[in-house]
Symmetry: C2
Subunit: 344 residues, 2 copies
């Protein structure tokens, strides 16, 4: 918002308000809307380089007649989820879900007491679980995410997201979303952007709750997936989730997922790790111009601090390219007034 | 629109119009919008069972407080494309594109003069092309649709859609869309539905032109696809289209494609062939209630007449189930006042 625009908007409110008393109800609504636009759209962002750069970009691409103007149908904004829209420590929240599910399902699976990594998990030996490596984790995910219908899986996700609590904050996981990023999503949508999630996380794990939490409809959520099969189930059509990977929406997979689901190159992309680098590179190649943002986890007190050496959300090559190419790197500790909505 | 609602809408126009002269411009717009709603939203549909059923369904699910009310975020409508939104005779239009592309590319592929089905195609022997069967057709599609970047393919589609003419009507293919279905798409969107294409046709073949023709954004277009690979191409990120099938969005694939791309069960689905049957069955299983529509090609004069014995767009099992379950079957000859926009 520049000051000339604010001035005219204020003038409009005043003029409209006094011009016609019969329509006071309508006008009160208009006034409220305009007031909302005039106030800071990113109140949880401290004044600083990231906030300035975001606002300057949005004004540039939305200003009719500007050489950088981008028509509304091309204002595609893609966001990673883990570590970009919500926290991802001490483990990806979807893994916490998988572990809780396996524990809940254990009574129906006596065979797990002899099978790794289930045995270790049920005995609470998380080190041994981690020693089982990627293959072990895939076993946990498959056991908790497949062999059921899509509707059954959705119910299990909703049950968990309503009840499970994060070990550090004791808050529901869906409360551990970043307040500044919620404001950024709103700000972009208010300016005609379509906002998408493009996450390495499971598409079916995010969709049940992300629509309400982020205001992003299910068809604008892209993620990793297992194969599903259409089946009749005694005349009642269902989709069965099979224990087989369909798509991995990470690294090189992100531009592919964007192409499959969106079919347009973003003009705005946000991530926090090397897993988002290809999405940001792909976005940067948009001939209409583009904005690339990395959330840098620098806040060991209010959140977590990690980057180049982290096993979760490693940001190494991406940080180098961001600095070399002048992408926006958000210093969470310095630039975010609040982290979570419950900090407000 | 029921008459009570119309009465109140008219009253609203009159009241608003006289209440405040200063805002006449705004009010003229409001009056125009209301007038548009009051007039027939489906003018190219003759009064008949299909039109009545569509309007009754839309009123039912959009009436607040009605037991059949469906909130806006769940008003998902999916449409097949070939034979449902545009014609598909004497061959799928995408096949006409593939053939034209192979001819245009032949100079760079001397090896095709000895290789079927290319040889037959270049000699104009369409019978021999068809004898090569599905394997032959896949060869043609792969040659014309892969081995290039997504941007290059998009350009080739746009060039073709602008210049190629249909052999019967001599009209551009994108003009051979059904006027009544364009009105139906608008009508649903005006009532808060999100409209999607779910087609066996290629997702990358539809997206370049379908957004403008149908008013459906690229991320709401679902179709069959080849695999793509992210590649750097000397520092300029591109997606390369590989000669390998990624997903077939037909028959059992349609509910799977809906689940992957939309993540919600439709409450409205329209098709014209047995390839759409599973999508309609899946939609019919929506506990919120749903509307299933088949376009029946009964018009040998203005379009084409075919169903149970056709190789293209066969409608056999689907017709049986539609009749048994009371789905809406549109008799194109009787129920459509106009077929194409150029008939108006």
């Amino acid at each position: 918002m520049n000051s000339v625009k604010n001035y005219f908007l204020s003038l409009l409110v005043v003029l409209t308000f006094f011009s016609c008393k019969e329509q006071q109800n309508d006008l009160s609504e208009t006034a409220a809307e305009v007031a909302e636009v005039i106030t800071d759209p990113l109140p949880s962002w401290n004044e600083g380089p990231s906030k300035s750069a975001i606002v300057a970009f949005v004004e540039k691409v939305t200003t009719q007649g500007s050489p950088s103007f981008v028509p509304e149908e091309d204002r595609i904004a893609t966001f990673d989820n883990d570590g970009t829209l919500w926290s991802e420590q001490p483990m990806y929240f979807q893994l916490a879900f998988a572990i809780d599910r396996v524990k809940a399902m254990a009574a129906d699976h006596p065979e797990w007491s002899d099978e790794q990594p289930f045995k270790a998990l049920l005995e609470g030996d998380m080190e041994a679980v981690m020693e089982a490596g990627e293959a072990g984790l895939i076993k946990l995910v498959m056991a908790s995410h497949t062999g059921m219908t899509g509707d059954e899986f959705e119910t299990s996700v909703l049950d968990w997201i309503k009840t499970a609590k994060h070990p550090k904050t004791n808050q529901p996981y869906s409360s551990m979303v970043y307040q500044p990023m919620l404001e950024l999503l709103d700000y972009l949508r208010d300016n005609g952007f379509a906002t998408f999630i493009v996450s390495g996380g499971g598409i079916d794990f995010m969709r049940p709750w992300a629509e309400g939490v982020y205001g992003i409809p299910s068809h604008q959520i892209v993620g990793s997936s297992v194969k599903t099969k259409f089946d009749y189930n005694n005349g009642n059509p269902v989709l069965r989730k099979l224990p087989e990977i369909n798509f991995v929406d990470d690294k090189e997979g992100k531009p592919v997922g964007i192409d499959q689901h969106i079919g347009k190159k973003p003009i705005f992309a946000a991530g926090n790790s090397d897993g988002d680098l290809q999405m940001l590179q792909y976005t940067a190649s948009n001939p209409q111009g583009a904005f690339m943002l990395y959330v840098h986890h620098t806040d060991s007190e209010r959140e977590w601090a990690y980057d180049r050496d982290s096993h979760i959300g490693r940001l190494d090559k991406g940080l180098d390219q961001a600095m070399a190419d002048g992408w926006t790197v958000v210093d969470m500790a310095k630039e975010w007034k609040y982290i979570y909505p419950f900090d407000l």
